[in-house]
Symmetry: C2
Subunit: 311 residues, 2 copies
């Protein structure tokens, strides 16, 4: 029943001597706890603490984090005689047949103040070589399903993304034809927009980060996922191997990056809505899909944006 996740876009992959996550058919995602690597123990400690802390609002836990079911000992695919404890998490792509997925690592810096000089130097180099230092976030991986197949840029290519590439990818991610120039952004309103869309979810998460001083999420990612099935797009925080105690200070590094992502997504949505002309039906194309995608602006989100911006 256990298998390697088909739609993983970042992180370690199981097989060929490498430990990686497994999924089952019931919506579980098993992440190996490598005993020779303290990151697993650290992530387990985070989940245990986070899911038992009464100061974390229930709505935040259930909306933005994978559910957590402790640990389970499982055989390793390439070495079935070898048993290893795994974190039991929610498979965030369960129920999606052809998920479009993006992994966005949030924060201009991925090193934490108590890091060793070696780890710190390694992170700092990656932050400066990627878009993290400039943009406050970087894309770690993505895939888009479209009519003629799956578009998944190679990791080495994603690693070299410039700010322009990141902006482009955020547009390709919600396009029917990601390869088109410029990307059509036909799904902008249905994925990024609306009261259950990614932008509304990002704004809700931001509200919590403006207030919470419990945890600092260094090197964590936002997983953004949707499929064509009409379910609300999902936004979840993942990868907690480097979460630190907040010690009464807000996570200004994560919050700054989150605000930068919000700005980028807002711009794409505003452009798409202008292009689709929601007040001018003549501009709309005639396919039902496109009409649904470009559909009426959600007043709730527009008000939120206006409050946040002075134009």
């Amino acid at each position: 029943m256990l298998q390697r996740p088909e739609h993983q876009v970042a992180g370690h992959e199981a097989g060929s001597g490498t430990l990686g996550p497994l999924i089952d058919g019931s919506g579980h995602f098993f992440k190996p706890l490598n005993p020779s690597d303290e990151r697993g123990a650290h992530e387990l400690a985070f989940y245990t603490s986070f899911f038992s802390d009464p100061r974390v609002p229930h709505s935040i836990r259930s909306s933005f984090f994978p559910s957590f079911g402790g640990t389970r000992v499982l055989p390793i695919p390439d070495a079935p005689d070898l048993l290893l404890p795994h974190l039991v998490l929610e498979n965030l792509l369960h129920g999606y047949s052809n998920p479009c997925v993006m992994d966005v690592k949030i924060g201009a810096r991925t090193w934490y103040p108590s890091a060793s000089e070696k780890y710190y130097a390694k992170c700092l180099k990656k932050d400066r070589d990627s878009t993290s230092a400039l943009l406050g976030f970087r894309i770690s991986g993505l895939q888009v399903h479209h009519e003629s197949g799956r578009w998944k840029p190679h990791r080495d290519k994603v690693r070299k993304y410039t700010v322009t590439d990141v902006r482009q990818s955020l547009r390709q991610f919600i396009s029917k034809n990601p390869d088109e120039t410029p990307p059509d952004c036909a799904l902008a309103s249905s994925v990024y927009g609306g009261s259950n869309g990614i932008l509304a979810q990002l704004l809700e998460l931001k509200s919590w980060f403006e207030d919470q001083t419990l945890f600092h999420f260094y090197s964590a990612s936002l997983l953004i996922a949707y499929d064509k099935g009409g379910k609300a797009p999902r936004l979840k925080l993942i990868d907690f191997a480097h979460v630190m105690e907040g010690e009464g200070i807000i996570d200004h590094n994560f919050l700054g990056g989150l605000c930068s992502l919000i700005k980028c997504v807002s711009e794409i949505l505003a452009d798409a809505e202008t292009a689709a002309g929601p007040t001018d039906p003549q501009v709309l194309e005639t396919t039902a899909d496109l009409e649904a995608a470009a559909g009426p602006a959600e007043p709730k989100v527009v008000v939120g944006l206006t409050e946040n911006g002075i134009h």
Copy 2:
């Protein structure tokens, strides 16, 4: 008529062979443009660009920035035969007889992506040695006038401030007796609170930073000032020698630090209001000053905070 500013709490001071700012009796602040240092030219370029850019809202320019009157050639105090161009700025403390002043350098990092390796290493060290990396801001200097005189910690002491020291200073800054333990925070509501107070101004500035992608304010400071004269406390951005073009990206570094400062100020205000018990007059002390300071919570600000936080 020209003299050295009496209430400067950070930055270079004029005299003894060092260039520093001068003030006149009409509310001007003259900042020397040292021809051997590109920072002056850079700051002049910023002021010129900022004050002519139609994309900067008028309310932001007038509320949060010193007014700018070009340049003027002036003699240097210690070498009156030597003439040097100066930036003509607004003396932000003009009209205050006994100003309480704090200089807060905003941002977890003061280096900018294009900085030289030498400058970058110098900034990074300062950011990690001070509270900048941890807290997203650091205090560069402060003074408080109280009944028995002026309290102004020495620069070397301020330079070594820990997070706890910063929190303490933010409380001492609005205390009648800064030396008391714990600080009395008697002026919290009148300085930090209210619809014209520092918190409300910080929130307005934050709204602009969530949207603006024109400038990145590396190593800039917020000057917070008030006196007992009953004027609204002032919040101004200063020190623009390292402002960079935003290139369409929000200033997530400044914004993150600003949100951290907002959180710290909010907590002090909430504590002070709880302690003063605005709904229970028996708890109030009887001096008019203290009543005015602790006075009724401002609904406008409280709503703003509630919207921003999940409790």
